[in-house]
Amino acid sequence: MISKAIAILLYLCVVMYLGYKGWQTTKRPTDYMLAGRQMSPWVMALSYGATFVSTSAIVGFGGAAGLFGFPLLWLTFLTIFVGVFVAMVGFGKRTRRMGLSLNSHTFPELLGRRYGSSFIQSFAGGIIFLFIPIYAAAVLIGISRILEISLGVPYEAALVGMTVLLAIYVISGGLKAVMYTDAFQALIMALMMIILLVGTYAMLGGVTEAHSALAKLAPLMPEKLKLGGMEGWTQGARFGSPLWLVIYTTIVYGVGIGVLAQPQLAVRFMTVPSDRELNRAVLVGGIFIPLMTGVAFTVGALSNAVFMEKFGKISIAMAAGNMDKIIPIYIEKVMPPWFAGLFLLGMFAAAMSTLSSQYHVGGTSLSRDIWENVRGRAGSVLSSRFGVTLTVLAALAWAWILPASVIARATAFFFGLCAAAFLPAYCLGLYWKGMTRAGAVVSMVGGFATSMFWLLFVHLKESQAIGLSKALFGMDSLAAGAAKGSSLWLMQWVDPNVVALPISLVLAFVVSSFTQKMEETHVERCFENIG
């Protein structure tokens, strides 16, 4: 206990020092919102990765791999290829160049200026400011619960303590403080994951031996999961079964593609001075991201073989049916005691790096994209600090009043809404000169509305947790009323993005084809750095 407390104290000292370094060099709004556009590729890439991967990605998705097995590695492939390569090369370079041409400081401002629309900027900023505190609250609750269990800190004190710590350096140091601390936190996370991976394979006698041992456990797959379509931890799920839909539409597609339209990630492309830094960041991200998601999913799946060898039980039985407990129990029961301290530090780092970015992007959306945009005047560092303060307080309030089950599902809300509302307008805005203002508005509003409808009334995980569908129509999902086994009935497990994203994309193309083109001089200015 004392060694854990000392390690956390040392860690916090380094974080505060880096926060201070960020504050010291933050003078202008560009420093506060974009780290002065002078960030190094190493810091940018590590910060991008640490923001992307939170505690829920390690503990939650690692636990999901304990249940569903190796098919989750398809998500790892997407996080590397789409989340790093496509994001940085295909989106990042154009985002940075267009951001320079249009003097954009935030993701909504880039969209708003690309389409010459203050409505687009405010609408995007509004979605971010309203929903990111709920996403942040989920991360805050997760780390506060871990602190309560590991160090015996009362839950409410952990909530407030974490909030105050983060608020100090995010509010004062802006994006520089956020990115410096993120990079440090990413290094701790990487060290933890390397030890976890090597330790797990060593326990099972090597890579091939470990996979073979897991493959042989297929007959032990719980009956309930077999009925849902699962065939084994290395075999995956039957095509078209409910669990196949959960794995491939929600986890693999929903998260793997959704990453492209995350404003807290996209803004990082504008923090570097040239394409060179993005090229170098591809290298760093291409190593860091598989170390996070790849290791979490591999260890989650292999935990079944380790638990079986040591305790004669599969992972979900060890965790008494709670998927989220698989990784913590694995650390506690299987890994050496000193590793528990490092794991706690890694969880701390993962949560803080994600939270700090969420606070920052929520705050700048409020100050820059809503408040200053409506007033029509350029703001200051002070107004950004005020925006971040309000976001921090909103996240704390959500964490305080909502039950953990609802908040955890609300995380999916943010990913779903961002992809459907922003991705077509963002992607086509970077690549298609013929995209019109009306096309962007209709695509964003249509994608948002469709995604919202699907989350509230169709996708069972969220609609059941929120309860609006039950209150209005007497059933947890409108799809549940269809004939069992029919395509319509299966819709309750289909991710909102599978429906809302194509609708948003079609709306963007169709409306842009029939509406007034944007002024040629404006379009030329948008693309002057792209060619």
């Binding site: 098919p71 492939f77 470990a210 995956g236 394409d275």
Partner: protein, 45 residues
């Protein structure tokens, strides 16, 4: 097949390793590639 009894998990694992290697090679090959000089309107409101 890395000890797996079906092709799917082995393919996913190999693709992860290939994607990671691709990112590393891309980063090395373009290490000093800055792109052409760009117009900056930083500070204009």
């Amino acid at each position: 097949m890395l000890g797996f009894d079906t092709i799917e998990p082995a393919a996913a694992l190999w693709l992860c390793l290939a994607a990671s290697a691709w990112c590393v090679v891309y980063g090395i090959r373009n290490w000093n590639e800055s792109g052409r000089k760009q117009v900056s309107r930083d500070g204009e409101e």
